[in-house]
Symmetry: C2
């Protein structure tokens, strides 16, 4: 049996902690270090943060560079931010040190879509250092993009694709409820949207990935985000959404060829959303209608797909990779 | 743009012809030669066989070795037989010549499951010659195995998996109807089953692939095949199944850990089967229930997935590969 992959976990928010907890249960992966910038977490044993009931022997540290140099892990599991600008330095550091990376950064899914110059820099650094860098997740990375790609494998052609995702946000954590504006007034929702740090990051990346994978010559990507207003009171474990307040959002993202819509991602994420599900519809030969009944569970699935790609990124050729060119993700031991 | 892949198509039965027809429509792949052993096909222009309405300039030839040596294609698209013993020589030939192979041979899906010695020989020859060899298809290769593997990527663990496939055989070609015994008496069905060349090949391979991919320590694979008896007359374009005659079959394939069933593939393929569909159910954290509404269309989908893996096999490292370790299949241009 090959020896276990040595992993350092950086970023101990909800997803990072769930992923670290999962790594600790795996035989083929060994967690060797943990990093976060939160003073409330630094110095604590990881077991305390994940509610393990016992110490893990891994103390949370503050300095990513020092940890990576001291421990020289096989892979960095990086879950700190949705934004490329915020993770760029850590990625370049790992690349220089020849440490592979699995990242949850939404903007990194198709890095050359948004930041072609930075993508070239990261790719060159990764190749020079002998590291592979991959971003993945459920949305973006799987539910509204990768599943449609995999479905396209049994078709002759794809003329258009539609992905529908419905999430009952009442089952989700507080930070997600805040991101989608649950409990706000409609005016506040619009004000928050204008900041650009509100709502869900990565829908444009899903469209870009689909356009590339399905060979659709999309010349414009666009999205609309609207609040969903509660028509009755909804209680969640974290907050109550009163009738008339915002319960979440509806995001439509589009890819156009000229005036024609060839890609349409339709995401509903609000407290009380009925019939949670993920669907892929391809207008193709033969046609495809694929559905995850009940939907793909949010944070658990996100932690799982990050951890389940650790072996894949190690097996991949050095460089900045995407989910299209690493081995198919699957449960790891 | 990279130059098109040069492909020779060997085996011009229903699937091979459908795949060749599809290759002719692709920009990124060029069909350069065609081979079959059927005297009625040799010497004809491929356009005549695929009903193109015009010549393709590609004449069907008889001698695989001569064609491969003369044309030196990038990939051999091989659709001649379900059985390893029947394709072994062609695979070794391609391996020696350094020509990659995409094959429809069901027994080749997990070659070391049935024939570990031959698998080692093929792998060594492929590595020595610098060729990659891959078998794929819809069943086995996708509907009842690969989709469950991809679904496992968003889970922490998989305790058991069940795949359900329902095909209305009334929509399928005559050779398939014969394979599943449509129109036979129940006695003839059982006599035919005893020959071992009847029914569907590859269900065991699906179980073996799932066991490996989901890390289930399956110690026994078994299957049952029963005729489905028509309760009313069914007309198909090719034959009529009378009430009381066999309309097709039900195949249950199982993977056991001790006495526990951890894998169950439930295939119904008969004329008049209601609610055609493909489903994957994982007993996992989180649980998964995935469904292709209407099912994955048989021959079209099979031709598509073979052609859509041509680029993947070229990108793969030399050796005998499986669908688990080539890049995720997707529509090719």
């Amino acid at each position: 049996m090959p020896s276990a992959l040595r992993v350092v976990s950086c970023g101990l928010g909800a997803i990072g902690l769930a992923a670290a907890r999962l790594v600790l249960q795996k035989q083929s992966i060994q967690l060797v270090g943990a990093v976060d910038i939160d003073k409330a977490k630094v110095g604590k044993d990881l077991g305390e943060l994940i509610g393990a009931g016992k110490p893990t022997g891994i103390k949370v540290e503050r300095d990513t560079e020092a940890v990576l140099k001291r421990l020289a892990p096989d892979v960095l599991l990086h879950c700190t931010s949705s934004f490329l600008s915020a993770v760029k330095d850590d990625l370049l550091l790992a690349a220089r040190l020849g440490i592979d990376v699995v990242s949850s950064t939404e903007e990194l899914l198709v890095p050359d879509h948004r930041s072609p110059t930075l993508a070239r820099e990261l790719d060159a650094a990764a190749k020079a250092g002998g590291a592979s860098i991959l971003a993945t997740g459920v949305n973006p990375g799987y539910a509204m993009d990768f599943m449609a790609v995999i479905a396209s494998a049994v078709t002759f052609d794809v003329r258009s694709a539609r992905c529908i995702r419905v999430v009952d946000a009442g089952t989700r954590r507080l930070s997600l409820l805040r991101k989608i504006g649950a409990g706000l007034g409609a005016d506040e929702f619009q004000t928050n949207m204008a900041t650009g740090r509100f709502g869900l990051v990565g829908m444009r990346e899903s469209v870009a990935l689909l356009a590339r994978a399905l060979d659709l010559e999309v010349d414009r990507v666009d999205q609309t985000v609207e609040p969903v207003i509660a028509v009755e009171d909804h209680k969640t474990p974290f907050l109550t959404v009163k009738e008339g307040r915002v319960s979440g959002l509806r995001n439509h993202s589009y890819g156009y060829v000229g005036k024609q819509t060839v890609l349409h991602l339709d995401l509903s994420m609000y407290v009380g959303a009925p019939d949670p599900r993920d669907e892929v519809l391809l207008e193709s030969t033969p046609p495809i209608h694929l559905k995850f009944h009940g939907g793909i569970a949010g944070d658990q699935a996100a932690a799982a797909i990050l951890v389940n790609n650790l072996h894949g990124v190690v097996a991949a050729a050095p460089g900045l990779r995407t989910v299209l060119d690493v081995q198919p993700p699957r449960l790891c031991r």
